[in-house]
Symmetry: C2
Subunit: 933 residues, 2 copies
């Protein structure tokens, strides 16, 4: 097998005007290799070298070192010969020895994750030749000992400490403080002790043969592809589908060969603001690349302007600056000029902001690397929009340039960076809802509301939240929970509200009774200040200053572009006028999911709701007994003892009607004529009953019944699997009066607010007959209100598709539905058989083991749950080709899911207000990608 | 609309040799009407008449009485004229008045559910003419007062009591005991009082006009189609798709016109045994049909032989019999001869056992009705097999003649009928598992085992059962639970064991502490005798004698025929050698579902299982910490404090291995080389932990840990929706060692029992990767055991399809599976979003409202869950065309579901042992039906 493959090209040479590789060969040359080839080809001053492909790395994993090296040996040797010829140097020998760097470089950037060896090719012979050649023994010996350290650690697997120990011992014996104080003799002595140490640890001599060094260096880079650090990095950054790393063998140039030498890194624009004002970067004279980032010496700035601002920021006088920290523009004006030209040429060539590495060796500039630079969200937006204006890129490209998920950074208050760095971080929970919050701790929703009314800013801390806490959550600046995952009640509600939330922090132990908690070892009492970073999950004790978001300027421009290209509509999930208004500000085209159950908890409504629940079962049984669904008939048939229940039931509904109507009026007003999909009551009734003894006592008092009666009701409504229980339209089937009341409230509100576009959504339909029955009731009430109000209402009636049975019988259901909205949260729960509240116990493990690529509650499981959606779309359109299709699960704001929705041709996605901009951008990207295909 | 339909035929005349209807017109003439038409056409002595169609009834419901009657008026009048001509009598007038009966008759038999009026056409005029004609005023007046009662009640809606009251008052005033003692004068007086009563109650005179009587009679029959009694009957007997009842208007003949007259009912064969020994039936001289069933006079037997046996049974001497109760054969030999010839002619004509009604009027025999007779299961089997031998019907017809569900009656012990009738019935629960049981009450599983060991027969009574009770359930004769539906744990397990069970009886209130219960008002203590009828749900206090089932003879023959025609294989769900052996006796071709979790509860195993659970989480976390799945590696890496958990975990598995192996050896032996699908561990681990405080205490003691530790473990494993939690193969993924242990036990057992055919089934797969990972482990263990035992094992590896995601990704899963077994219980739960434990709250209502035709846990929901099955079958075969497909949910033994499985071409169904014969028969019927199509 190896024999057959031997004519495959595994090694690509690069050098000025004669590169074998090309810019579009990233997958096999890696990002760095492809860029070096391309830069060299383009005439940029790149030290020549060659790249061993990622395919070689993949083969290495499959067939092993020995076979692979045999396969590629001749190609490597040929490339090395060419390199010797190009540079006029010779590898492993004098008089002008060729030294090389050996660096990793995968198709995706993984900075610092894999291994690098510099100065490879040094041994006693080449060291001597170099000294003769340069006349600079200190430089050579320093390079040698650095090489030994690096090779020893990376290739030979010797702990850093071993070398550090020898270094420190030497410095101690010589009473030196800095490495740079070492003399040539010191360095020679150090090299000798290093050699001994290597022998001692590995049992073998440090390899003198340059070829052996090279092969072992290559092997080390290949091995580093699968080191735990790299694997973790790929996991965190969702880097998939790569086969391995390439290896770049490049002739060394030395920024540390004297005061006419330097090394530096630079960005072609400011990576944190995106501004194109000046050349942003740092350099050091007489240093190697690693020194710039090591922090031992203070790096200097590239431009005069940058340097002056930097000095000002650090309180350094212009005189000191000029003397100690001159800019490259000042220190090496010719090199600066050349570099600045290269900067502009590179941006022109790559049409994106570049992250550069350069070295100046004895006054000659070399480019060691260029790549698209990492940037903040703000910079990404700014650069993309600027580059359109500058004529570098098209609008579509600009849209593709911004990572939608990043936008979140721009929508919430954030901590002032410096203050956060200094703050007292006590634990890290799950980053459940982004943003930053600082406030005083309270431990229950009622206190939160009380304190907030008193003008305080509060952080609500709960073991976990329940729908009862909604009022307190609404007024809190931030929410902290000890239990619950990324899709727990707290997380979902907080994201919907745009409130910062850190959830499921196991180190938080709350004592409600004492109104205090411990976070790790820290005791935090009611009223103490804490701060939460909902984007990282960090929890701090104390107050941290926050900075407000900026939504205009480039952000507005990129959103406008997104809207121009996207095909999918973007709606929001919102239950309050505040949320609705905010979402409209963020560009929402309507509400895709307005939950009504939250409205059942507010203020005194819960009393009516509980009265309803207490009488509902009796009413239900009476209906069966007297074979009638009509309450008026029931009242006539019932005997005296049975009458009060029916009356109280009706009374409770009558109390709720005007309150619900006011809710909808507020929301419809905020929407200003945009459509609003209202979901009828969904949760099981037991959610409206008290959860603890105190609540039971209260309810008994409110309702004027015994605590035992309250408990009986709770017991009667208890469910083993509430997820699969008596909820959704099943409630509406059992209690059609509740459906009728809600529909009446919606219709009356629609009459009150001109231009309203209500759409009524029946939840949890599994069987077309459920929808048909609910539809009859809804249509009856609409007709009644139309007569009463002398109005004509255009109300759409549709359903959630969230039960697998609904998906596979969508052809039948579509006949009764004006729209489908995919409730992918529940469809995931039922489709995969995962309880959102319980799956935490194994889902992490499942994702780690690759059973699911992503947590299916975060990213729609396209193969499975997506297949149910696909089936439903296909079947639904078969019987109702005009059916409107949308998605309103948590997935509606997730870019990969949005791309999937775009591919199915859905009409819209709906997501929490703060995800609306993300969804707009993701939808545009999906449309552009689809067009390209 | 009505105008257009007026040329439609709504009325069909019947009479000797001139019937307009035909035998195959049941749907529009009803069963009775079609039979009368056919009998008359065939030359049988049927009193002529006409039938108003079921379509008229349907129209009546739609367009109302007035419009319909206008539409059919001329047809009815024409038919009446023809009837007058044929009979030579005139309707509503003398000298020879035509009297008619008006009877209901739908396409399906609904005996006694709808209304009948006899003697219609009587009024003062016709009464006088009849008296003149017959010279028998007593007969005429008696007919008149009967007519008034019947018409008054059925048509005018006057309560029976009103007439009874007048009758009793008259008899009292005349000091009479029997109706027959009334004189003509008495009867005349009675008729007069009846007329007054009718006027008083209805405000109108009793209708004198015969035509008005007829129309109102017809209307009453139409109305009775939808009376609550009829609706309920159709619901109970699952009669669907009918549009209404037909009305049969037939000229009256009088069995009460003197001693040369008689009336009777008869079956052509014995309806309870099916024997074809003699003509089975009863008659009364000088009586009308209603008298035979009214029980006022003792009916006489048809044949001499039957009469003699009857007399013997009732201790009546031959002399008395001959004098007081002569058979028809003796009393009216000519008529008997004619009737006996007709009996045989009818069987020949209809090729089935017939249920006849006849009347003899003045020595002339009339046939009033014939229909296929209702029969017991035993009779159905006997008649079907006999008729094949007699050349009446084909084998296929014989197979179609037996209702599979009925077979259940033949497989279990039953109560002696007479004893059950006399017994003290105290409540009725759900008929959860058929059969009859009598025994002494115990209230927990341990006592059940103890008492059974002591040779007592016990009834285990529990509030509800849990897997812990399995031992006690196994030894109990019957099981009674206060809670839980038809698919509760108790019900499912009991059906599997073939143990009689009555579940969910709310009147049963158990006090475990006092070891007693109340059933209604009855107090029952430990050791008291009770009896359960699992086929009806009846609960009796006291002992009732039981009768054992007979499985040979005709039963064996019909089973043989079924096997000849069925295409589907039939396996059983069995977890023990006893069940396996029983199922094999019942004809099972292997085990389709062998659950292994029950094996985890038995005896001391639970201790090992609990030890496993206590250490499992620690092991899991250590694996993550040290990034290894190998316990041996873990042991090397772990520190001292961590070691004991790993060791105990291994130890627990080592303890379980030999026990599991012995379980499988027993089962494989019982199967004698038949295949056995073993499902790996399925339930969530918390099911193995104690449920109450006492259990916690015990476990703490057993495990030598604190109660708090036990509780912590229970809390940690608690799930909000256990149905969707950490169970099935999710356990195997987290704890691969458990999978490996089970597979090893299976393989070692297979090596120990020659010819075993184990098939290993991975439960709850939703994603092909789960199956692939488990498959790798399974294959590894198989390979290990093969090496160790120097054996070659042919083990199939497959999965349950029970998660909707699995169904829609079956193409992928099939690539890793040798077989699919549809777990339709869980597929229903997840597909419909119904928790089996909770759905009782609304499912009844859903079925009543017609949202689902049947409870989807009893009869597979073909439209929805069935669609998921269909998708899975299609996709599965696409990638693996040889995949073996079966079903192992509770539905596997349900005839409608079996027909569906047959239509999909599944390979087999699997059901509890006692359903195996039912499944065999249903499979044969499905195959025959499919062939006909």
């Amino acid at each position: 097998m190896t024999e057959k493959k031997s004519d495959k090209k595994y090694v690509y040479f690069f050098g000025k005007g004669q590169s074998e590789g090309k810019a579009d060969m990233k997958m096999i040359l890696g990002g760095k290799g492809a860029n070096l080839a391309d830069m060299a080809q383009g005439g940029f001053p790149v030290p020549p070298g060659f790249t061993i492909t990622t395919e070689a790395c993949a083969e290495y994993g499959k067939i092993g070192r020995e076979k692979l090296f045999k396969t590629i040996e001749s190609q490597v040797k040929d490339a090395l010969k060419k390199l010797e010829k190009t540079t006029g140097k010779s590898f492993g020998k004098g008089p002008n020895p060729l030294l090389v760097s050996v660096r990793s470089g995968a198709a995706a950037s993984m900075p610092g994750m894999m291994d690098t060896v510099l100065n490879l090719g040094l041994n006693q012979k080449t060291v001597d030749a170099m000294i003769k050649l340069t006349g600079n023994p200190r430089f050579v010996m320093d390079s040698y000992r650095r090489f030994m350290q690096m090779f020893g650690n990376v290739v030979l697997g010797i702990e850093h400490d071993v070398f550090e120990h020898e270094l420190e011992a030497l410095k101690k014996s010589r009473k030196l403080k800095l490495d740079t104080e070492m003399t040539v003799e010191d360095l020679e002595k150090l090299v000798a002790t290093y050699k001994k140490a290597v022998k001692k640890v590995t049992g073998k001599e440090f390899p003198e043969d340059a070829m052996e060094q090279l092969w072992r260096g290559v092997q080390a880079v290949f091995d580093s592809w699968d080191n735990p650090r790299a694997i973790k990095y790929r996991e965190i950054n969702d880097i998939r589908g790569l086969i391995g790393t390439a290896v770049n063998v490049q002739s060394m140039v030395f920024g540390n060969s004297g005061d006419n030498s330097a090394t530096g890194v630079a960005f072609t624009r400011d990576p944190s603001t995106g501004k194109n004002e000046y050349f942003y970067g740092e350099f050091l004279i007489n240093a190697q690349g690693e020194d710039v980032v090591a922090g031992i010496r203070t790096p200097q700035q590239i431009t005069i302007k940058g340097s002056k601002e930097w000095a000002k920021r650090h309180g350094i006088t212009e005189a000191t600056r000029k003397k100690q920290y001159p800019s490259l523009e000042e220190a090496m004006p010719a090199c600066f000029k050349e570099l600045d030209d290269i900067r502009m040429a590179l941006e022109k060539r790559y049409k994106d902001m570049q992250d550069l590495e350069f070295t100046i060796e004895n006054g000659t500039l070399y480019m060691l690397q260029t790549r698209n630079g990492k940037r903040t969200a703000a910079a990404a937006v700014k650069i993309a929009t600027d580059m359109v204006k500058e004529g570098f890129i098209s609008e579509e490209t600009a849209v593709m340039r911004v990572e939608p998920g990043q936008l979140d950074q721009l929508l919430h208050p954030v901590f002032d960076k410096k203050s956060e760095e200094k703050a007292d971080k006590v634990a890290v929970g799950l980053p459940a809802s982004p943003g930053a919050a600082t406030g005083q701790v309270v431990f229950n929703a009622a206190d939160a509301e009380k304190w907030a009314d008193a003008g305080k800013q509060v952080i609500l801390c709960r073991i976990e939240t329940s729908p009862e806490d909604i009022g307190g959550m609404n007024v809190a600046r931030g929410i902290l929970t000890a239990r619950g995952g990324m899709t727990s009640h707290a997380a979902v509600v907080a994201r919907g509200m745009g409130t910062c939330c850190v959830s499921g922090c196991e180190e938080v132990i709350i004592d409600y009774a004492k109104k205090q908690m411990t976070i790790g070892k820290k005791l935090v009492k009611e009223g103490d200040w804490i701060s939460l970073n909902g984007s990282t999950g960090a929890i701090y004790v104390g107050e941290i200053a926050t900075v407000d978001p900026q939504l205009t300027g480039p952000f507005g421009e990129i959103m406008k572009l997104a809207d121009k290209y996207r095909k999918l509509g973007v709606r929001t999930n919102a239950d309050t006028p505040t949320d609705a208004a905010r979402a409209v500000d963020f560009g929402a085209e309507g509400i895709g999911l307005c939950r009504t159950e939250h409205m059942f908890f507010e203020g005194k409504r819960i009393i009516s709701v509980r009265r309803l629940i207490l009488t509902a079962d009796t009413v239900k049984k009476l209906k069966e007994k007297y074979s009638t669904a009509c309450l008026e008939t029931l009242k006539k048939k019932a005997d005296k003892a049975e009458l009060p229940a029916i009356k109280q039931y009706q009374q409770a509904l009558a109390e709720l009607l005007p309150l619900q109507r006011e809710d909808f009026i507020g929301i419809f007003k905020a929407l200003k004529g945009r459509p609003c999909t209202v979901r009828l009551l969904d949760p099981p009734l037991h959610e409206f009953l008290p959860q603890d003894a105190k609540g039971v006592k209260e309810m008994a008092k409110q309702m004027k019944i015994t605590e035992a009666e309250v408990k009986n009701t709770i017991d009667a409504l208890h469910e083993f699997n509430p997820m699969l229980g008596h909820r959704g339209c099943r409630l509406g089937i059992t209690y059609p009066e509740v459906t009728a009341m809600q529909v009446r409230a919606i219709c009356e509100a629609a009459c009150a607010v001109k231009g309203s576009q209500p759409e009524i959504m029946v939840p949890l339909v599994g069987n077309v007959k459920e929808l048909a029955m609910q539809r009859r009731i809804i249509e009856e009430v609409i007709a009644e209100v139309e007569v009463e109000k002398k109005a004509k209402l255009a109300v759409k009636i549709g359903t959630m598709i969230e039960v697998p049975r609904a998906a596979v019988t969508a052809d039948k259901i579509a006949a009764e539905a004006d729209f489908f909205s995919f409730g992918t949260n529940d469809l995931t729960q039922m489709g995969c058989g995962f309880s959102r509240d319980d799956a935490g116990k194994f889902l992490g493990d499942y994702v780690r083991k690759g059973i699911y690529d992503y947590d299916p509650f975060n990213v729609l499981d396209q193969d499975g749950v997506g297949e149910l959606v696909r089936i439903a779309v296909e079947k639904g359109r078969k019987t109702n080709k005009n059916i409107k299709l949308g998605i309103c699960g948590e997935h509606g704001g997730e870019p990969k899911t949005i791309e999937f929705c775009n591919s199915l041709g859905l009409n819209y996605v709906s997501c929490s207000p703060f995800r609306v901009p993300i969804a707009r951008l993701a939808a545009a990207q999906a449309a552009i990608k689809a067009q390209k295909k």
